[in-house]
Amino acid sequence: MRALAQLYLQQFKTTFASMVQYRASLFIWMIGHVLEPLVYLVVWSVVAEGGGGSAGDYTTAQFAGYFIVLMLVENVSYTWIMYEYDYRIREGLLSPALLRPVHPIHADVAENISSKAITLPFMLVVAAVLASIFHPVMSPRLWAFAAAVPALVLAFLLRFLLEWTLAQAAFWTTRVSAINQSYFVLVLFLSGQVAPLSLFPHAIQVVAYILPFRWMLGFPVELLLGRLTPTGAVIGLGVQVLWVALAYVLMRLVWRAGIRLYSAVGA
């Protein structure tokens, strides 16, 4: 455990040092992460105003709150591993990682967290600026904030494990972009990214509650906005734990199979 903590600490330092070298691309990356929720915010505000000040159970000001918080949660749980993994396999970058006596996922988790540590302060400033422009209305509660901490950690873990597992598809196919695209569409609609899930038809909401996507984005957002009851929060955390456990098992199985294939056909 201490050795792992050491490893993470070193990986943070390494990633931090490399990322600082790429300030410009980091900045561009952040603009993208601000623009997407901003576009949804503007669209839904217009919709709400057209509907007499609200759409579904969200007022214009509540939409502002939703998407500003979503932007921050997205920053916490976002990963880029699916874009990167097939490149790694094709370029033979996985082999040096396999020679090391630690599971390669640790380096990825540590890298992800350290890059978030760099971007989060900026995103908070952006959120403050957006709040001053759009005057969001939220009804946060202290207990909900406390519950949001584990919810965010679980959301990060779930999304990371799931996307890391999906990235392993690169072992089997060279056409990972098709898989990635389908996945991102599912996330867009079923996680609450494009709109709060309560605006969707009932059937879709049921599906979204069963599938993992809501639990890595929409759930912590709703929790932070104070839209959930304590019971809802506890159930949500329970579902998150179940999904994380399932994703972990899946990750182990897929990784083992992938590595078997990789080392059979030529590393």
Binding site: L7, Q10, A17, S18, Q21, Y22, P101, S263, A264
Partner: protein, 326 residues
């Protein structure tokens, strides 16, 4: 008998490759029917390495050297046969095994591109759980042996190829592996840098008693480092033994260099004349007849000096590789 550090028995690796002719029709056909062909990269090879040995692993490109090294370091599963390193089955990639070996591949980088090598070393310290005192001592030793001092604090991307290679090697050895696999460690380096790396490998072996298996296209590396060589070709073991025995086995000729008082003689009746310059003649003669020919040369001609040599090792190896084995 002490059990060997590396044990390979009847080791084979077969790849399945999809074959296709070029052209549009062939592409369409391949949608329906694919011709698969098995390629035997490594074909039932066996050899052992004892602790502390430095062995040269030779063969032309595509002979199966890298495939073998990958099976030894656990990156590839063998198709058949046995392989153990330090008593471990490499493909299980156990932590205790990986902490005792290293594989240095010419172009692969352990080092993070944008930051100083020292930071990557620190990362390896954490990965291999090297105790701080050991780390400092090993780092000092490696810094001294490889003259890394001024390089450690520069971003890796600003280093020259040779400088980077030295840092790569250091990164790969920080955990003091007992077994070292080197795949073309000197490729693309200038002669001075090649020699420095070579000296370093010899010194590392001496100091730590590490077992080293190395591939190289530079015979100077092999001659300087390895008494024993293992030669493979088309995946098969061609030779395993002393470098000098390799020369004996694969050369049917010797080179005779004679210095004569006179420079305008025709020596073709003694053997194949490789060069003739200012009375210095180089002849190639069948090995079995060397004694008889030198005797005749000395009797017939005004010889000042005479030297019998084995052909250069490059030439021997070239001949070994050129041989088609059935």
């Amino acid at each position: 008998m002490v059990s060997p550090v590396i044990h390979i028995h009847e080791l084979s690796k077969t790849y399945e490759v999809t074959e296709r002719e070029s052209g549009l029709m062939a592409s369409v056909r391949s949608l329906v029917h694919r011709t698969r062909e098995e390629v035997r990269a490594v074909d039932r090879i066996s050899f052992d390495l004892a602790a502390g040995e430095v062995v040269g692993f030779l063969g032309p490109n595509g002979a199966g050297k890298t495939t073998t090294l990958k099976m030894l370091s656990g990156l590839l599963y063998p198709t058949a046969g046995e392989v153990t390193v330090l008593g471990y089955v490499p493909s299980k990639r156990l932590g205790t095994f990986l902490r005792q070996i290293t594989l240095v591949m010419g172009q692969r980088n352990q080092l993070v591109w944008d930051i100083p090598a020292l930071d990557s070393f620190e990362l390896n310290r954490a990965i291999y759980r090297i105790p701080p005192a050991d780390y400092r001592r090993t780092l000092d030793e490696l810094t001294e042996l490889l003259e890394l001092g001024p390089l450690l604090r520069k971003p890796v991307r600003n280093l020259s190829l040779g400088e980077r290679m030295k840092c790569e090697i250091a990164a790969a050895l920080l955990h003091r592996p007992q077994v070292v696999f080197l795949d073309e460690p000197t490729i693309g380096l200038d002669v001075t840098m090649q020699r420095r790396i070579r000296d370093f490998i010899a010194e590392y072996n001496r100091r730590f008693g590490a077992t080293v298996l190395l591939t190289s296209h530079y015979m100077a590396d092999v001659e300087a480092l390895c008494r024993r060589v293992v030669v493979i070709h088309h995946g098969r073991l061609l030779f395993d033994g002393d470098l000098s025995a390799l020369v004996q086995q694969f050369t049917a000729h010797k080179t005779v260099v004679v210095q004569l008082e006179e420079g305008r003689l025709d020596l073709r009746k003694y053997g194949e004349v490789l060069s003739a310059e200012d009375g210095r003649y180089t002849l190639r003669v069948p090995k079995a007849e060397t004694a008889r020919i030198t005797e005749r040369l000395l009797a017939d001609l005004p010889v000042i000096d005479l030297l019998v040599e084995d052909p250069p090792i490059e030439e021997v190896i070239e001949r070994v590789f050129a041989q088609e084995i059935e």
